[in-house]
Subunit: 367 residues, 4 copies
């Protein structure tokens, strides 16, 4: 007797295409394999507490309930960053937070629901939890998710193309107005540790400078580039700053802010503006894209990749290949062990082809 | 002998539709009236210094040169905020800035170029300069421009619809991810003195709260609204903050910032996040749209309004009705004296129909 | 005892903003008036047969169920063109269709459901049915819907701005490629009897010619315009054709097609291409936008107008002002008797301001 | 003494990203290599006749003249399908067309302009001409262009992603209204010989059926699928039809049309509608996207690929590697001999991974 009842859940930060993975997995699960598919709410929260319902609770997914979700941002299952059952945070009657291991409860609930497999869509954290739940006997198939496209185990992750597209369109708009207005404009995009979004959007959006976490920047080359442009009559300039971009030799200004009242809310873009402004004697304008890069309808590329991931996850479950995670390699969908998947991350290489392209067309990296 | 050579220029901040006004005026000027039309660069800068060319210099506009500009953001003529010929800022050899009156030079250059009329597209500042140049003998027709839609003399200004649309799409995206992620998100939009963009985008984008310059806010009603939503299982919330939104009783935090190193770069959205976060025990995410609301291809509404303005400005020149400014009244294009135009501004009325609509569907204004 | 249970339904063709009307009415109905709101499926079908469920059946609408629908195209209630209870088409066991009056059943079902009022969102047909159901005792408030913006009783209808925007964006794309490729391109847009979409999109999208139902066209002026452009080196041309555009003196080609195998599928755009092509010795390319103009996320303008309509409809119900329909007059929401509403239609006026604008910038109407 | 003066031209049908290739090549040519770069107008037309100027004539390209073109559709150089210098069509005084070989003139003009290399961006036809011009002594580097993504020598071509995105967005809109309205809708997309656009857009846009040139279709499976959906209460259906989709056993209807008055204007989508309509007793609506898939701002993916192609083409010129064409292989830019490039085409494989994905989620191919 094979698999008949499968659960699916989404964990970690939001990412365009999550619904398309669910759509692919549910359609294949029902149409090809005849399963019942249970959607678990808010990552493992829905397994930790079966009474949990913000706002809907766990739900049986049907062809009807996944109709039309393919093109929608967000996830119909909800997601969560605080749902590690091995380190579950609860608040006691005295208001103090304590951490407990509720993983046995998850296993018990999994069995109580009559489930035989779990498809877990999520990032590094979700995959780490998945491996530990595997060890406790839950058969799991993984679908990798990171908007930053920084996984070594797969050529591309869904959501990244949409995020770059949103940032590119923002840059198009800012470039229009920078040109008309002779302004120096800064656009801060996502990317704490990996600068792929900044690099791709910067090239596609015609930025004059790109500051990345992987290439510590100095402001002097930026100021020189702006001065050189001004000398040629080009008084505008658009600078893309990844939120994790750091000045060479650390960031005094960060420390300063950390000591003050607002350690997290003033981002890398604003910090660059504060310091570069006086150097070039101009008032800089900052746009902070923030979470608009995580929402919205996924691009065709992300939808197709996500549907293929969902289909492939269902196939892995049907084949009993638990402990594996789907991956894209040279245009084909394949799978890798979950353990390998989360061990390697990709970073922008300063000597890589795309950085060289950017430099060849005259983009300044502040290095 | 009538008008044969007409100049056109754009002044003040960027605004989607500027090129469409130029397109309309140039096509009508050439096709209907047979004029030569000269594009003046960077507002009055191109008249102050005929050698001025950043990047192109004044240019004769033809059917060919305005082909395709209808759909483009920015302005092909450039624009400037620092070009008042009556208070022109020059930098001496010692690096010190002094203010001089170069208006006689503008008049002389205007005549030297053989011009008989000037179409000035711009905001309040541009119209004030236009009136003074009129007094010195330059025949001027005005086209009002303000992205904030805050002119009493015209029912709507071009650019506003596009700005609201961009903000609405940003809110759609943020709402997607706020819902999936149980987050409280803040989106800061334009509007220093008038909150029309925040109000319109807030309703269209399904915001839960809207903070406006015209309605001083308190954070307590916001915190209560968020608590009430949480009690019903709706743990997400999207708040639109106009850049000029102010707390009731002034803004201590603004003063604080003014004393410090970065008086302008920390906006109203960030300030709300810093203070509301601790109250609701949540980490808020802030998106600052900034100048992406000023760029990009104008919406169909803004293009049509702008083309009509351009056409009407050309007609006013042909009819010799100088000193007038085009306006939209009850769906029809008409004109008003420039002097009247800039004297009145519109503000969001707390008791107006649209605020009442927002309140009826449950939007919180913090009042 | 006042109203406690209100039904809402959508009828006629699809139109961006239907969900936003539902959103506005439901939120105001629940939050302000404390009603239960029942969504009726597929126009009156859901009242004719309470067992009717394609796909969902009538449903109680809650704050949760209307969450997020504001920005979605289509209607969550479904709609129908074939649901006139006074002329209801049924198929007998022999496969023959007969028409019966099932209006008594509608009234009985309305009472059975404990309803006290009905908000009917729809076009001319829906309003005609509404008046007849009023006569049979159902208290109805109307919300007018027509994507063609051709109602005399209201300044603008929701959905129109979105349809024009979609057509404008299509024109932008076609213009790009027409210019690069020296092509004559035809884009057929909606508008059987009224040409507002073609006129607005044509101006906003920079079309060289616009063919409308209200202005019978001749091909000779079109061919001359194209020849004149070619003489100036402009070998491309973009023509917008409303689906109801007709040649002066009738349309022989239509009759021809009617005699043949495909009376409806060859539209006005294709007919123009077939006849104009040989005249200008060029192969024309035709794009038929069709129903993509009716779907998709509504623009901010349409959302706001629709929410205001929904709110106002709820207010009319609360005030007991049945037999009225909401309307927009000079920027303010008001109401008019349903009887008056559907009696008058608007048409593009050949001498109107907008047609004159188009002509002044050189657009050819074939007249 | 190396290369100092390089020409660039674009040939064949329009394709989003052409301007981005020009942008990349010109910036690298000027900034990295210090060349003068001449833009040749309308493919080889600008070399056949140096006096040729529709509308602008050949032009020296500068950093200023390529500023901002990155994000624009079309090509600033113009393009042409009728410019084969080896089979050049001229019209004699009697109006008759004759074909002559003007390739010697092209070579003479190339030398007269002091050019040392030519970058030719184009499709199969352009590459065939390039090889022949190489044989006559013009040093050429090729950049492959096909919106259909059907080149075997490169993993992906620019323009394809944008075309799929436009088709996907059209499908999203049509699905909205099909669902609300219980309609069967047909969307005809590009693809005469290769169905990649239909396949990708069909999956991404949630189509229920996809008809491709590579998989001859029968209408019976389509009608059965629609009937099965209706039985489950899903009365709507969206069908994507590539313009080159053909019924199994040939297309009687095509022959019929070819005998009649309009051999080319009734496309595959309309033919499916005419025949399927009576079978399912429903009136089908057809949208023909046509050239809107070729225009418009390129997606970030297409821009980046195009910029990399442009950069790489300049590098090939600098290295003297003439007779080569740039290509994308496993994410890296490389080059292949022009001769190999145009010899192989890709087609959708009925047994390929993506068709299998589509079938697994329930998409009908009519086979």
């Amino acid at each position: 007797m094979g698999v008949q009842r499968v659960a699916i859940m989404t964990g970690g930060g939001d990412c365009p295409g999550l619904n398309a993975v669910i759509y692919g997995a549910v359609r294949v699960g029902i149409e090809k394999y005849g399963w019942e598919v249970l959607g678990i709410e808010d990552a493992t929260n829905g397994l930790i507490d079966l009474e949990y319902r913000f706002p809907k609770g766990n739900q049986w997914l049907t062809l009807e309930s996944v109709r039309g979700i393919l093109s929608r941002g967000g996830t119909i299952l909800g997601t969560s960053n605080r749902s590690d059952p091995f380190n579950y945070v609860t608040t006691g009657p005295d208001g103090k937070e304590t951490t407990v291991d509720v993983s046995d409860k998850v296993v018990a609930n999994f069995q109580k629901l009559g489930l035989q497999a779990l498809i877990s869509i999520g990032g590094d954290g979700s995959m780490r939890i998945a491996r530990k739940l595997m060890d406790k006997g839950i058969p799991i198939v993984g679908v990798p998710k990171t908007i930053d496209n920084d996984l070594a185990s797969t050529d591309q992750t869904f959501g990244f193309d949409t995020a770059v597209q949103i940032a590119t369109e923002a840059l198009d708009r800012v470039r229009d107005t920078a040109e008309s207005h002779d302004r120096v404009m800064i656009v801060e995009v996502m990317g704490r540790d990996a600068g792929f979004i900044a690099l791709h959007a910067g090239i596609a959006g015609g930025a004059d400078a790109i500051l990345l976490p992987e290439i510590p920047y100095r402001l002097e080359p930026l100021a020189e580039m702006i001065a050189a442009r001004r000398a040629k009559g080009q008084t505008h300039c658009v600078i893309v700053v990844a939120e994790g971009a750091k000045p060479l030799g650390g960031d005094a200004s960060v420390l300063e802010h950390k000591a003050g009242a607002m350690p997290r809310l003033v981002g890398a873009g604003t910090r660059v503006a504060e310091r570069l402004g006086p150097m070039i004697k101009a008032e800089l304008r900052v746009t902070v894209l923030g979470h608009i890069q995580r929402g919205g309808s996924p691009s065709n590329f992300d939808r197709i990749l996500a549907v293929r991931y969902g289909q492939s996850a269902a196939d892995l479950v049907a084949e009993g290949r638990f402990g594996h995670m789907v991956a894209l390699r040279n245009g084909a969908i394949t799978s890798v062990p979950i353990v390998e998947a989360s061990s390697g991350v990709k970073r922008v290489e300063a000597g890589g082809q795309l950085v060289q392209t950017a430099k060849a067309i005259g983009v300044c990296f502040g290095d």
